[in-house]
């Protein structure tokens, strides 16, 4: 793992101009074993198939029309190639509601996940680098909140929000997304190791304000941790289903997850009008942004996961 050889993240903007590192240095003495294991390879292949099968299904079936979808073999291409027609239909069906859902999802992700990351960063930094009364209590509360799944909180949150008159508004999705106990905990543990207290002392000696120290020193040292939290939050908010499902009744505020489910539901009941081809193609389009984000930021993800795993 890269973190092992690089205990402190490099200072500077990591997104630009950082040379790509080879995952496993080929030069001798790296200490990494290069041993081939047949059972491990087999298990990896099974995993690979397991992970790729749904994606493969999605890609294959997004090229089919609704009729082909029902009349041809599910795991191979059909008689026609309707991907572009499907994509066009996805964006134009029902007055282009898909675009609206995409916009909503982006709004929830930018404000919700962005806000969650920001809050987790300041709070995590503060808890890691300042001593104050009640710190242990906060620690206990945060650890406790990680243990409670968001789904369990959705119903009480709904009742609370309905009292406040916030249901069926974007706030109903954004406000709960802003809180990320796991992200806070991650930044906290990361900050303990990544920011040498001596550095902060030196900055204070030089007369820098706490706010300036945070934004010019801490944030830069914490970048890998912050990006990891951002990635976790973005994925969580992008895939958020249950909360918007119970909070929202107006499709104009739906995120993609709930919207696609509505399209899928359209195939059942009295006035059933199946549009599975649009559901499949819409799902494919929905995962593309998250795949791109993941690929771009995955090295931070790895280093973030490794953070706190090594004691110096």
């Amino acid at each position: 793992m890269t973190t092992v050889t690089r205990p402190v993240a490099p200072v500077g903007d990591p997104a630009v101009g950082r040379p790509k590192r080879r995952r496993t240095p080929k030069d001798g003495g790296s200490g990494l074993r290069e041993k081939k294991s047949l059972p491990m390879t087999a298990i990896m292949i099974v995993f690979l198939v397991y992970s790729f099968a749904p994606l493969f299904y999605l890609i294959v079936n997004s090229t089919k029309s609704q009729d082909d979808l029902l009349s041809t073999f599910g795991l191979w291409f059909g008689s026609g190639f309707d991907l572009f027609a499907n994509v066009r239909d996805v964006f134009t069906y029902n007055g282009g509601i898909f675009l609206q859902w995409l916009g909503n999802t982006l709004l929830y992700v930018v404000v919700g996940a962005g806000g969650a990351t920001f809050l987790a960063t300041i709070a995590g930094y503060g808890l890691a680098k300042f001593r104050f009364i009640g710190r242990r209590l906060v620690f206990a509360v945060v650890l406790g909140s990680i243990a409670i799944p968001g789904t369990a909180l959705a119903v009480p949150t709904f009742l609370l929000f309905s009292k406040l008159g916030l249901t069926n508004t974007p706030w109903a999705i954004i406000l709960p997304s802003l809180v990320s106990p796991f992200g806070l905990y991650l930044v906290w543990t990361y900050a303990v190791d990544a920011i040498p207290s001596e550095l902060l002392e030196a900055a204070r000696m030089d007369g820098a304000s706490e706010i300036r120290i945070f934004f010019t020193i801490a944030v830069k040292l914490l970048t890998p941790g912050i990006v990891t939290v951002l990635l976790f939050s973005v994925v969580a908010v992008w895939n958020n289903y249950f909360l918007p499902l119970i909070m929202l009744s107006d499709p104009r505020w739906y995120p993609l997850t709930v919207g696609l489910n509505q399209w899928s539901q359209q195939a059942s009941g009295v006035a059933a009008h199946p549009i599975y081809n649009l559901v499949v193609t819409g799902s494919l389009l929905t995962i593309i942004p998250i795949v791109v984000v993941f690929l771009l930021l995955q090295r931070y993800w790895q280093s973030g996961l490794g953070a706190g795993g090594v004691k110096e």
């Binding site: 009742l159 499902l245 009295v270």
Partner: protein
């Protein structure tokens, strides 16, 4: 598809909904006092205009709203698709519980009507003189909105049950079109023996189907009088159905394909599922969902137990109701009246593949003479209109049927899954219904 997940989520959602169900009972009196409106108030409101919110998932909703706004230019209707069926009821129940956020008008299926009506969430439309519209609708649908002497909505569509069958498959395997349930079971055995991939029908356990089948068999398992509810899922009619259907369940003669999934549409199109016992709205569904089956399908009256007297039940279909939360109930009532009784609106609804509830349409010669190519130019509406005349009267749903249906999979659904006795599953369902009803403040007696 993610049936399981959907069930879990559904159950969780219902939990919220039901906490609200009875809460509505006590706070139902909010909104304007009933009996304050009258027929002229509706006319005046339509003239004055205003804005309405209308929740519906009907495909023809947008076209109907556009036509209405054209006819009444002062009224603006905001059409919202808040989900299909149960999804919408959960949101509706939540909004009622929250005290705000409910629409002025909502589409509510017949089976869910008592839940909202008896909890006092719906406006009584007889205050506007709408009870005089009774003769315009079939008795089956009117009975579903006219509860306890109050009118809680106007019927939009209906689903008298019939048997839709794939004639190509019937001809190929030499099956006769069954007139009785015994013949139906015999056909199921013959077909599956001749072609192990083919099933006479599909049923993986669906509460709506079960209740309709019990209805057809003459059962009345649910009776409600105020807050007193009696449940008997072992009465003569219920047992009659369960014993017949056990033949199919226990011998694994039902296609293990959940309804309305992509696989289900596929098998309807390729003949692996040869019949559907379902509501008269089915042609619209199969024509749009299983295009490849065109020309193969026909319709016949539903089989009966004695093979002589035609008798059927309603399956699916619903009405539009005015919510008590609405600030402009007279205007909302005017919209509902136009929506479900004007020729303009009903014809728009028909064009989208719906099956009507208005007798004028059901008896009109143009309607009866429709001969769709999908059904080999059979005059299917003659058969289906006949079905709507032979709906058995006296049926009623539970005042918390939406919840009851949501736990059906855990009880009767288990019998389907294991291929075991349906009666055991029905008893378990009954126990769960009784327990839940009592928790909610009803006095539920088990018979």
């Amino acid at each position: 598809m993610h049936k399981r997940l959907r069930m879990v989520v559904g159950a969780a959602l219902t939990t919220i909904a039901v906490t609200a169900a009875l809460a509505g009972c006590s706070s139902g009196g909010s909104g304007s006092a009933s009996g304050s409106g009258n027929a002229s108030a509706v006319t005046a409101a339509l003239k004055k205009g205003g804005t309405l919110t209308y929740w519906s998932w009907t495909p023809s909703g947008a076209a109907q709203v556009a036509a209405f706004e054209k006819a009444y230019p002062n009224v603006k209707v905001k059409l919202v698709n808040a989900g299909t069926g149960n999804d919408e009821y959960t949101k509706l129940q939540n909004a009622i519980k929250a005290g705000s956020g409910a629409p002025d008008v909502a589409q509510i299926e017949y089976y869910a009507m008592p839940q909202f009506a008896l909890a006092g969430s719906l406006s009584d439309l007889s205050q506007y003189g709408f009870d005089s519209l009774k003769s315009k609708y079939t008795s089956g649908t009117w009975g579903s909105v006219d509860l306890d002497g109050k009118l809680y909505g106007l019927p939009q569509d209906s689903g008298p049950m019939a048997m839709f069958y794939n004639k190509t498959v019937f001809d190929k395997y030499g099956l006769t079109v069954p007139k009785t349930w015994d013949e139906y079971v015999a056909d199921a055995k013959t077909l599956h023996a001749a072609n192990p991939n083919a099933y006479l029908t599909s049923d993986t356990g669906d509460a709506g189907f079960t209740t309709s089948m019990i209805w057809q068999a003459g059962g009345t398992p649910f009776t409600t009088d105020g807050t007193k509810v009696t449940v008997n899922l072992q009465d003569a009619g219920t047992k009659k159905w369960a014993d017949t259907w056990n033949e199919l369940v226990e011998n694994k003669l039902l296609a293990p394909t959940p309804g309305f999934t992509d696989d289900w549409y596929k098998q309807l199109a390729n003949g692996d599922i040869a019949t559907q016992i379902t509501g008269a709205w089915f042609p619209g569904v199969i024509e749009s969902g299983a295009k490849a089956g065109s020309g193969d399908w026909r319709v016949a009256p539903i089989p009966t137990y004695d093979g002589t007297t035609a008798v059927t039940a309603e399956n699916g279909g619903g009405a539009q109701a005015v919510l008590k939360q609405s600030k402009n109930q007279a205007l909302a009532a005017g919209f509902v009246k136009w929506l479900n009784s004007s020729n303009d609106s009903v014809n728009t609804f028909l064009a989208s593949g719906g099956f009507p509830s208005t007798t004028a349409t059901l008896t009109s010669s143009s309607f009866l003479a429709t001969k769709p190519d999908y059904f080999g130019q059979q005059d299917i509406n003659t058969v289906l209109a006949g079905a709507s005349d032979s709906v058995k009267s006296g049926w009623s749903y539970l005042p918390f049927q939406v919840y009851a249906n949501s736990i059906y999979a855990d009880t009767v659904g288990q019998a389907y899954q294991n291929g075991s006795d349906l009666n055991a599953g029905l008893k378990a369902w009954q126990a769960a219904i009784v327990k839940y009803g009592n928790q909610q403040g009803f006095t539920v007696t088990s018979k």
